[in-house]
Amino acid sequence: MLAFKNVTKRFQLDEKTTITPVLDVDLEIKQGEFVIIVGRSGTGKTTLLNLGAGMVKPSAGQVLIDNVDIGSMDQQQLSILRSQKIGFIFQFPSLIPALTVKDNITLPTIFNNGHGVNGVDKRAEELLEMLGLASKMQVFPRQLSAGETKRVVLARSLINQPQLILADEPTSDLDNRTELEVMNILREINARGVTFLMVTHSMQLIRFATRAFEMENGKLNDVTKNVMVA
């Protein structure tokens, strides 16, 4: 599904300073896996996710989605790829403030030309129902709690029925109970065959993963042995 082949990403900050948040990462994620990468802030987790979504190009190595090197795609092709195959959950508040919850959720369908998503409104309603937000359909993001916002973002990432979800700290800023709720929902979706690559700073969450890695200095260390079944 998603593979990083010896991927390195360097950023040139100025003439003298270069940082390397991702260094020679080699990782293959199969269809239906739930992979969690943990690590402290600034260790390159988000950059790795961005590489996986084609939002940043690798300095070296290849990122493959369904065996296609996304580094060779232009912006137009990447946009189509993202709209059809990838759902993205951002760490920061990413809902469009001017749109209602329902409009935010259906937003990605504009760019998908309806591929694989018949009855967008019905699907949005089903997703909100599943996530316990049926009553929030017409409210605006500013009227949602942090947990509700995360769930709406999740619903938006699922609307185009993607095969892969890239989740960046989907439970940050949430209390323990809400965090557990969100993680259970992610697992439920994963159980339906959707592949997950999630990054988090919370070590406790690796128990939800099928495989887990710790990221440090741009490199991945397999910590799957620490995974406990939730």
Partner: protein, 397 residues
């Protein structure tokens, strides 16, 4: 939900920014249209006034050109005289087809005998006239009788009265000419019989008698034969006569026209400068708005929007605001100008005739197009920048 709907929702969601751009476009578009309307309204007015006179050449006493032009243009009465036998001299000029004398009079200023204060009165010769007679034949089916007058568009019978009292003499208003926006609208037309009756009556009924010098006229309306160059006839008049000055109708109000053109083009240039400044301001506004929305646009890209979609979205939002602002601004300007056209014309000392619907619609279209193009251009650079932004970097900002 498609691009247009998303653009509308974004506009609604960013109230202050949208209102600022909307108001800016509204003000400048309204100002631009007002300027264009006033320029065209003034030109219209001058052309209608010249058409109303119906003469190819207006011959006036030498040195009285400005007074006559001011009278015809602004309705300010004048008393200028030349010998009546000048009519025969002008008739004898080769190329002249018809001549008709006119006498210019004024009602009294603030006198109790006069219903209208200081009104310009034109006395015409019904036997030769081609200024008023065609209108009378068409609308009344006959000429004016003694005591009968017709007025420009703004001449009316005072409330509660049936006639207009001038020099203590009662005249019956038989109709009003179409509006020209010039002084003709404030002018009363009558025959010499009526003028003489009024003069006779004024000896006993007015605080000051109406005096019409014997064998004197104020102007001669001249029509040249078909195919004859009016300019050559005018030159011939200058060469063959003394004490008279021919004004060709295209040159009528010439001094005023050049002053007005200078003034209005200055006004227009000011509008263009304001427009350019507004465009720059809107460009800065869009830049700031787009900077604030970099992350939002990055999210759009991340959920599948192409760079082209983001580019079109920014421009569509700009175009909607421009169109809305321009439509409201132009409509408001047109409405205010229409409602207060007399006040505006009086305060600017300009003749003004509101353009026809078709001319107005053309101006409306031009104003709208200029607004949309300007605002779209102002939003162009920010739109290009945000559509090409580095996603990962924008999301971290």
């Amino acid at each position: 939900m498609k691009l247009l709907k998303l653009a509308f929702k974004n506009i609604r969601g960013s109230g202050f920014r949208s209102v600022a751009i909307f108001l800016c476009v509204m003000g400048v578009a309204g100002f631009l249209l007002s300027t264009m309307l006033i320029i065209q309204g003034s030109q219209n007015s001058l052309n209608s006034g010249i058409k109303r006179l119906g003469a190819d050449i207006v011959v006036v006493p030498a040195g009285a050109q400005d007074k006559v032009e001011t009278a015809l243009l602004m309705g300010k009465p004048t008393n200028v005289w030349m010998p009546a036998d000048n009519v025969a001299k002008i008739s004898a000029i080769p190329g002249v087809e018809t001549v008709s004398p006119q006498v210019y009079l004024a009602s009294l200023d603030g006198a109790a005998c006069c219903a209208v204060s200081e009104m310009f009165m034109v006395v015409y010769d019904p036997k030769t006239d081609f200024t008023i007679t065609p209108w009378l034949q068409k609308n009344l089916g006959r000429g004016l009788g003694a005591g009968e007058v017709i007025g420009g568009n703004y001449i009316f019978v005072p409330q509660g009265q049936k006639e207009i009292k001038l020099y203590g003499y009662y005249t019956t208003l038989k109709g009003n000419l179409e509006s020209t926006g010039t002084g003709i609208d404030q002018t009363m037309f009558m025959t010499m019989d009526t003028a003489q009756a009024m003069a006779k009556s004024s000896l006993t009924t007015a605080v000051q008698p109406l005096q019409i010098p014997a064998n004197s006229i104020s102007a001669i309306m001249v029509k040249v034969r078909p195919g004859v160059d009016a300019h050559k006839v005018a030159l011939q008049i200058v060469r063959d006569t003394t004490g008279m000055f021919p004004i060709e109708s295209p040159n009528l109000f010439g001094t005023f026209r050049s002053q007005m053109t200078g003034l209005l083009w200055g006004f227009f240039a000011l509008t263009v400068i304001i427009w350019i400044l507004a465009a720059l301001m809107m460009g800065v506004n869009f830049s700031m708005a787009v900077n604030e929305r970099r992350r939002e646009m990055a999210v759009l890209r991340a959920v599948g929007a192409t760079p082209g979609f983001v580019f079109r979205l920014v421009l569509t939002e700009a175009s909607i605001l421009a169109a809305a602002g321009a439509v409201v601004g132009i409509s408001a300007a047109a409405f205010l100008l229409f409602m207060f056209k007399n006040l505006i014309a009086a305060s600017l000392k300009l003749p003004f005739l509101f353009p026809s619907i078709s001319s107005f619609l053309i101006l409306f279209g031009i104003g709208l197009a200029v607004a949309i193009i300007t605002v779209t251009l102002a939003a162009l650079l920010p739109a290009i920048r945000v559509s090409r932004q580095e996603l990962a970097i924008s999301m971290r900002e």
